[in-house]
């Protein structure tokens, strides 16, 4: 990943040991914090939306430190889309499970598990959706359109 290759997307990339070291040091903590906010949202401020954005910001930091192109190759776009789709399907699945158990759509207290756990599962699903979408928007916008600029993926 030389500096020259990184000019695709119009964002000049400078390899800086300060940024790389800082990102290496803080990113595990940021990712942990994002997961914590997502999982602990039921009992403290936070939840899937906030936690998802914090988790996705790790991808943004990697983009700053190592260049957006290499980061995008490292985090496969199909994996991101899969995470987002899985989140939607889990949320919708839980919502549509309730009518089968003689409840209304998304009525969580008819579930065989405690409401608390349904809420946790949905928070994790929301976290997956938001994290995948924010990271995906970051990579897609850095690439630009398929027919002008970019690497013509």
């Amino acid at each position: 990943m030389s500096a020259e290759e990184e000019h695709e997307g119009g964002s000049p990339y400078t390899e800086s040991p300060v940024i790389i070291t800082t990102v290496r040091a803080v990113s595990p903590f940021i990712l942990t914090y994002g997961i914590f906010i997502t999982l602990h949202g039921a009992n403290s401020p936070g939840g899937g939306f906030q936690g998802g954005v914090v988790m996705a910001s790790v991808a943004v930091l990697f983009g700053f430190a190592f260049g957006i192109g290499p980061t995008r190759e490292w985090i496969d776009g199909r994996v991101l889309l899969g995470i987002v789709a899985a989140g939607i399907f889990v949320f919708a699945g839980i919502g549509l499970l309730a009518p089968l158990l003689n409840g209304n759509v998304l009525q969580l207290d008819v579930m065989p598990i405690a409401v608390k756990w349904s809420i946790e599962i949905i928070e994790v699903a929301i976290g997956a959706i938001v994290a995948g979408v924010v990271a995906g928007l970051f990579f897609v916008l850095s690439q630009g359109t398929a027919d002008n600029g970019g690497d013509g993926a």
């Binding site: 997307g9 119009g10 964002s11 906010i37 949202g41 039921a42 009992n43 403290s44 401020p45 936070g46 939840g47 939306f49 906030q50 954005v53 914090v54 996705a56 910001s57 943004v60 496969d76 776009g77 199909r78 889309l81 987002v84 989140g87 939607i88 949320f91 919708a92 919502g95 759509v105 998304l106 969580l108 207290d109 405690a114 409401v115 608390k116 349904s118 809420i119 949905i122 928070e123 699903a125 929301i126 959706i129 938001v130 995948g132 979408v133 924010v134 995906g136 928007l137 970051f138 897609v140 916008l141 850095s142 690439q143 630009g144 359109t145 398929a146 027919d147 600029g149 993926a153």
Partner: protein, 184 residues
């Protein structure tokens, strides 16, 4: 929380908001806008809305700025003779009158965190208000402590599902517009 800090934050937020609107240079406006969001997130903490503060800090001050920066990196950056936009004083007068009208209602608001505020009465004439219901019944109905999360997922789950789908649609929309449906 000290009154001085609140005044300083309010001045900071108003100044950054006005300069984000006035700056001709888009890059400068984006940076000032991120600073505005950071100030707002601290104000949310003072107003005891930590859920909103987290969102504002992560989305407004963090990700939005990055996405805006990526977008303007695709555009040419013209050099400007003037630093600020020219101001339409008629519009400023209209906005000023509207602002005064709105500010005139502020003295009628209850104090921040006041237990007498109508919005936080748990019972009116012995009946549970919606606020009282959510605050009192959340642990019993759901077993979670954060009433915001309970409203979001349990009481108003359908709205939240809509929100999640809107976020998903945003990504799909950008992929379609940029012609990058499939990553190869």
């Amino acid at each position: 929380m000290s009154f001085t800090l609140e005044i300083a934050l309010a001045v900071f937020v108003v100044l950054t908001a006005v300069s984000a609107a006035l700056l001709r240079d888009v890059l400068g406006a984006i940076v000032v806008f991120a600073a505005f969001s950071l100030g707002m997130s601290i104000i949310w903490v003072i107003l005891q809305a930590p859920d909103v503060a987290l969102t504002e800090a992560a989305v407004g001050a963090g990700v939005m700025g990055v996405l805006f920066l990526l977008t303007i990196a695709k555009t040419a950056r013209p050099s400007y003779d003037k630093v600020v936009e020219s101001v339409n004083f008629k519009a400023v007068a209209v906005v000023g009158v509207l602002l005064l009208l709105l500010l005139s209602t502020v003295p009628a608001l209850p104090e921040v965190g006041s237990p007498d505020s109508p919005a936080v009465q748990e019972r009116v004439d012995g009946e549970l208000t919606p606020y009282g219901y959510y605050v009192q019944m959340t642990p019993e109905d759901t077993g979670v402590q954060n009433a915001v999360a309970a409203v979001l997922v349990f009481y108003r789950g359908f709205d939240t599902f809509g929100e999640a789908v809107v976020v998903f649609s945003a990504l799909v929309g950008v992929l379609v517009v940029l012609g990058r449906e499939v990553e190869r």
